[in-house]
């Protein structure tokens, strides 16, 4: 096991990783930007080091700053969290070059799964049905138009690097494609420093179902079931749950087993998430693999009782998985609500400011992963995630009931949040019947959605 780990991230995930390190008995150093000097992870850390100014490019996204911080504090490993440098093969490479361990897949593995287009091709070769898409990256507008024609509209423009909806657009006509191509490029460039794009067939009525896999360095792999992330706004996940209401138990098991088999066969390593689109007929298509710990990992932790961050660290340290598929029991139903500082009344404009008063809900089956505290000033420089409320119940109905109560109890005074959006979801018939599709919120319009909930 490692002696000391540098946590190169912020907010709730920095806190989450800090807790995992302590549970493993490993020292941890929290690397922070000047804007996060007063943040909870820094306050709770036994050791913390300032790596740069608020601008992420000069702190959390600066490989030299992060690696240098790890070296001067005597760390032998770096945990990148999610976002920032978490899936950057170049960074993982540099980390290794300095004799440190990147907590996640090795640089070679990240490299192999770095391009989404290539990954689709690779895993397709290992028996996963994949979504029709462009032949590799888009060379130019002409190539884009030809490929879109071949795939057939509507198509989804996606950046090859990163995720989270940035640089993504669904287009239904060649004109639309032409008009947004540049925008997607510049968004992708800004967000991931890489403007390469590719195309994917767009399924209008689809569910987003992802399989969590865990593979150790010795090729032992298990799946931890699936998560349904169909509740999205502009390709951004808002709420995640497991099990998915979209598939039967048998179909879920089949999908999960095929996913982990393909991942192992393709030489994947450490924890990872295979994302699938599931259409109205229950047919599924692989779209991409996420090589990081994900925001929604607590959903899986609630069902399995497995600490996924600790698992990720143990595997990166070269430990064998230590359990087999038969040991993984999926128990009950869990839902995660992403609590964001954004204003539903104003097109979800992100906000910042001081948390006047913070009260986290509690009780049986309720978990709040958040870096908030009363008096905390949310800096305007980073994403709008304030925390994650996760509820568990023996069944979906109980989880939903607890979700309602917990959302009502949650207090985040001083900031405008999307709590009302979640409350609206929990009274929405489509959601209650488990029939949400990824395009529903955008089609209905979040405003209309909220209004409908208010009436009900």
């Amino acid at each position: 096991m490692f002696g000391k780990i540098l946590i190169a991230n912020r907010g709730e995930i920095a806190l989450r990783v800090l807790r995992a390190c302590r549970t493993l008995g490993v020292e941890a150093v929290v690397a922070y930007s000047e804007a996060d000097r007063e943040s909870l992870p820094v306050q709770l850390a036994d050791e913390a080091i300032c790596i740069g100014p608020a601008d992420a490019k000069r702190s959390y996204l600066s490989a030299p700053a992060v690696i240098s911080a790890a070296l001067v504090t005597g760390c032998d490993a770096i945990h990148p969290g999610y976002g920032f440098l978490s899936e950057d093969a170049g960074f993982a490479d540099a980390v290794a070059a300095h004799g440190l361990t990147f907590i996640g897949p090795s640089a070679a593995v990240l490299e192999r799964f770095g391009s989404k287009a290539r990954t689709r091709h690779l895993l397709g070769g290992h028996g996963l049905p994949t979504i029709p898409g462009s032949d590799g990256l888009l060379r130019d507008e002409m190539h884009a138009l030809d490929e879109a024609e071949r795939i057939g509209y509507p198509v989804l423009i996606k950046p090859s690097a990163g995720g989270g909806g940035k640089g993504m657009r669904m287009v239904r006509t060649p004109r639309e494609l032409e008009s947004v191509l540049r925008v997607c490029q510049s968004e992708a460039k800004a967000a991931f420093g890489d403007d390469s794009l590719y195309l994917e067939k767009w399924l209008d009525e689809n569910r987003h179902v992802e399989i969590q896999v865990v593979v150790d360095r010795y090729g032992h792999g298990v799946h931890l079931g699936e998560r349904d992330c169909s509740v999205q706004r502009r390709h951004q996940k808002i709420l995640e749950e497991a099990p998915t209401p979209a598939l039967s138990e048998a179909a879920r098991a089949d999908l999960a087993e095929r996913a982990v088999r393909a991942a192992v066969a393709a030489g994947y390593e450490n924890i990872g998430t295979l994302e699938f689109l599931v259409d109205a007929n229950g047919d599924f298509f692989f779209i991409e693999i996420n090589c990081r710990i994900q925001v929604e990992h607590p959903v899986t932790e609630m069902l399995t009782g497995i600490d996924m961050v600790a698992t990720q660290i143990r595997i990166a340290a070269g430990e064998p998985l230590g359990y087999s598929q038969a040991d993984v029991i999926l128990n009950g139903h869990a839902i995660e609500f992403r609590i964001n500082a954004e204003d539903p009344a104003h097109d979800f404009r992100p906000g910042a400011g001081v948390v006047e008063r913070y009260h986290a809900p509690g009780g049986p089956g309720v978990r709040m992963d958040s870096h908030l505290f009363s008096g905390y000033e949310v800096p305007p420089f980073y994403d709008s995630l304030l925390g994650k409320l996760i509820v568990w119940g023996p069944d979906r109905a109980t989880a939903i009931a607890r979700g309602r109560v917990a959302l009502d109890e949650l207090v985040v005074d001083g900031l405008v949040t999307n709590i009302a959006m979640h409350q609206a979801l929990l009274v929405n018939e489509t959601f209650l019947e488990g029939r949400m599709t990824t395009n529903l919120l955008d089609r209905v319009g979040s405003a209309a959605f909220l209004a409908a909930a208010a009436r009900s």
Partner: protein, 201 residues
């Protein structure tokens, strides 16, 4: 009583739930700032005089629905600039009773070489441009006259040297870290003394 320092108003006023800062018109905000300045200039001295006597850590008074709270930081660090005071407060967290290790672990943090508050007493500080290993320049030892922008040393970041420069004209004073020490971004490195009537920007 706090040592005399220039009044410093920090942050924007806390927004109420009904009206987040983002939505408050600029005119109104500037009015707020004007009010704060008036308050600072005219009322605070009186307020502090009144309360300096009492041994209060914090005092809260209400009249009708109005509230006024006056707080003295929990360590005696009156008059020090904000961040340092905050860190001291943080040190008092008794997380699982492990407060001490906590306070110390942050003790070597950067001071506010940036917000100029370190200025008022005729000294300023050259701070670290990056996280890495510090090396002073041999020719920049205490007593040396320097001009703003002069190189005082460097911080080694994975083999790349980042320059440490004098923020103002003045005379090199104490070096706050040893050669070869690990330093973090923004950390105070070298004191620069200057005439009470500041020369530098």
């Amino acid at each position: 009583m706090p040592e005399p320092v220039q009044p410093e108003t920090t942050g924007t006023p806390r927004p109420t739930a009904e009206r987040p800062t983002a939505e408050r018109p600029a005119a109104e905000r500037s009015a707020d700032h004007a009010a704060m300045d008036r308050l600072t200039a005219e009322l605070l001295p009186a307020l502090i005089a009144k309360l300096g006597a009492t041994g209060l850590g914090e005092l809260e008074v209400r009249e009708g629905a109005w509230r006024v709270r006056l707080r003295r930081p929990t360590d005696g660090a009156a008059g020090r600039e904000r961040r340092t005071a905050d860190r001291a407060e943080r040190g008092t967290w008794s997380a699982g009773g492990s407060a001490s290790s906590h306070a110390s672990s942050h003790a070597s943090g950067p001071a506010s070489g940036h917000d100029g508050s370190g200025r008022s007493d005729g000294r300023t500080v050259a701070s670290s441009p990056a996280v890495g290993i510090f090396q002073p320049r041999p020719d920049a030892r205490a007593g040396t006259k320097v001009r703003a922008g002069d190189r005082l040393g460097s911080v080694d970041v994975l083999g790349i040297q980042q320059e440490v420069v004098a923020p103002t004209d003045g005379v090199v004073g104490a070096c706050l870290v040893e050669p070869g020490d690990a330093v973090e971004y923004g950390q105070d490195l070298i004191v620069i003394e200057f005439a009470s009537s500041p020369l530098g920007a």
